[in-house]
Symmetry: C2
Subunit: 398 residues, 2 copies
């Protein structure tokens, strides 16, 4: 039988590794001392639970049950300033369910804590390399903000590292996670069963006009890169009307103006353009609109336009069978208090889907806050999440 108290106690113990001293905040980025200590503690818990412990070459920690098994888990590394739940929740829920399965001689359940989901090296590194999306050789050249390479960083866990884990031993993967958004909290729901992980498009756009004196250049003769950016932004929102869905999002989150001085008409701007949606068709349609609007604005404002490379992550639909088990378990454990929803955030499940059927469930984030010390979820909701996950596993393995 799963033990909610033991589950909550383990979550709080894990929080002690890298506890920030601010609320329930955690500072446990990938390969930091706190992260490695947390992983060593996790390995011990896995071993005590009767699982076979293995660390793969990139530092992901595995607790393996007899094959074939279901795989549950997430990640225990945090953002540079993160919360106590994020990926930790999915790992500890997995540990509790796998442990009780061992104790009860139930169907085998394996556990994983992927390394660097939070992207110290730019991507969900551990699951990206394990799933074969990116080669280890390529990943080894990824740099963090301080210029440390992934290759150097993983030396910190070289004394623990063994071989790769064969994905063919797993029948499917379920990841429990906090929502990191406001929908469940706002609706008063306890459980979200994920339909899709949205696809992401991300690129840099550069508009080059003419740098000039902000006193002597008349308005009608300016080629002001900021004005062009502002026009692009306004026009884009209008052009998206009737195309986007309620859950579609787009963001200009990074703006670098040149030379960025109050007395100079800015001659150049480079900005990020990111959009997310669960439909590949809609992502492509938005791409077309973005490029058309940018070209129109560039022409009207006398700008030279450059598009950078586009990062594309395809939407991932959750597996029907796994998802069905979750919806049934949700209705049993939280009747009328759950909903189906897309995941706007990227997760390890995106990569794992390359190798096996995947599904996800969410619990509410209070105020929609995550990636911050303030991140939290009512402990009663955490327990319902554990119960739904355990129930779904039972439905899938009985």
């Amino acid at each position: 039988m799963i033990n909610p108290d033991r589950f909550l106690s383990d979550l709080h113990t894990l929080r002690s590794f890298g506890a920030s001293g601010v609320g329930k905040g955690v500072i446990r980025p990938a390969f930091s001392d706190a992260d490695i200590a947390a992983r060593e503690w996790l390995m011990q818990q896995m071993a005590e639970a009767g699982l076979t412990v293995q660390v793969d070459p990139v530092g992901s920690v595995w607790g393996l049950a007899q094959a074939p098994s279901l795989l549950l888990g997430s990640h225990t590394d945090s953002q540079p300033e993160g919360g106590w739940l994020d990926g930790a929740l999915g790992v500890i829920a997995a540990l509790e369910i796998a442990r009780s399965a061992q104790q009860d001689r139930g169907a085998p359940v394996s556990v994983v804590s992927f390394q660097d989901e939070e992207g110290r090296f730019g991507v969900t590194t551990g699951s990206t390399v394990w799933s074969g999306t990116v080669s280890l050789d390529t990943a080894d050249h990824f740099l963090d903000r301080e210029g440390v390479s992934f290759s150097q960083a993983r030396q910190n866990m070289a004394h623990l590292a063994g071989d790769w884990v064969d994905p063919r031993q797993f029948t499917g993967f379920i990841e429990m996670h906090i929502e990191q958004g406001p929908w469940l909290d706002a609706a008063g729901d306890t459980i979200g069963v994920v339909t899709d992980i949205v696809g992401i498009r991300d690129m840099r756009v550069t508009l080059t006009g003419e740098q000039n004196h902000a006193g002597t250049t008349p308005m009608h003769m300016r080629k002001d890169a900021f004005q062009a950016l502002s026009a692009f932004n306004t026009r884009l929102s209008l052009a998206f009307e009737g195309v986007v869905a309620p859950a579609t999002v787009w963001t200009i989150g990074q703006v670098n103006l040149h030379p960025n001085a109050s007395s100079i008409v800015p001659g150049k701007v480079t900005f990020s353009m990111q959009w997310r949606d669960s439909s590949t068709g809609r992502l492509a349609e938005m791409d077309k609109i973005i490029r058309q609007v940018a070209m129109d604005v560039a022409r009207e404002h006398g700008m030279v336009l450059n598009f950078g490379d586009m990062l594309g992550l395809e939407p991932v639909a959750m597996d029907t069978r796994l998802r069905h088990a979750l919806t049934e378990a949700a209705e049993t454990n939280a009747p009328g208090q759950w909903r189906e929803m897309p995941s706007g955030a990227l997760h390890d499940a995106t990569n794992v889907a390359q190798q096996m059927p995947v599904a996800m469930l969410f619990v509410p984030s209070i105020g929609g806050i995550s990636h911050a010390f303030e991140e939290d979820t009512d402990e009663a909701d955490l327990v319902v999440g554990l119960q739904v996950l355990a129930d779904a596993v039972a439905r899938l393995t009985n």
Copy 2:
């Protein structure tokens, strides 16, 4: 008699101090080795011309004729990447006219090259302090971008520095300068007689919304600081219609978004808002509109709004008598090829106007380009400028 060849030759000699190696570009910022060498060369030319040379405590170089005299000049320091003319033109034209006055025993003309007009220390430092607008104690704490104080920098010229020059010996000041804008070049005119130096208002505005995950935060729940800035910018242009004049300018030249990452909804933006006009009333009306639009947008977008301190430089009307001498000289030397116009750029004359009547004349900037290595003016136009200035001086002193 003024000697155009000697004038052009001196201009080219001055260019050799800090010649950038790119076209006629110059790298001669205030108190650099090149700037001090150029000032020492200028002191020698002044002495040879029969003027009494004096360097004041802030490094401005004076060539004094018998009092009372007219004062001509500008500055010989350049932007970090500047052109060969900018302030240098006005100083060398002044030198040629003062020299020929000494040779011809004409009415006395004095010369000045103010220090740090280009604002290494944030303002037109030399003339600002000399005119009493800012005290030396205050200016001594100004820092350049590398954190060097004005006090430290002027030690580089301490071996040359003497006492302050008494402004009461001058009957008026005329500054010749390149236009630094496109009007004369576009119209095919040779001379601009300045009516006013426009006033400037400059402040920082901060909009604080809510930093959030760019995947999980729905569009309708965002408090996106960039979206608020873009809305402010669009709305402001509309609100200015019917208020601004053709020569009015406004600029958002600096934008700092926080945290400036593609996957994060920006929670905060600080941006510069600068506007210029020759009417104090219009500057105030624009100020009111800016604050109102910012408040409206902040309210609608759920932003906290903060206005920084406002830098205010009042418009300066040129002296009627000096200006009249320039228009008569312009019509004589460039009949039908001159115009009256405001100066959109700030000049040393703004500060000197605190102490005496001032006037300015412009020659064309090819393509309107300045503060760049490409800055240039046809040498024939430079000579016409010299002749107009000399003629105006003659009209004022005969």
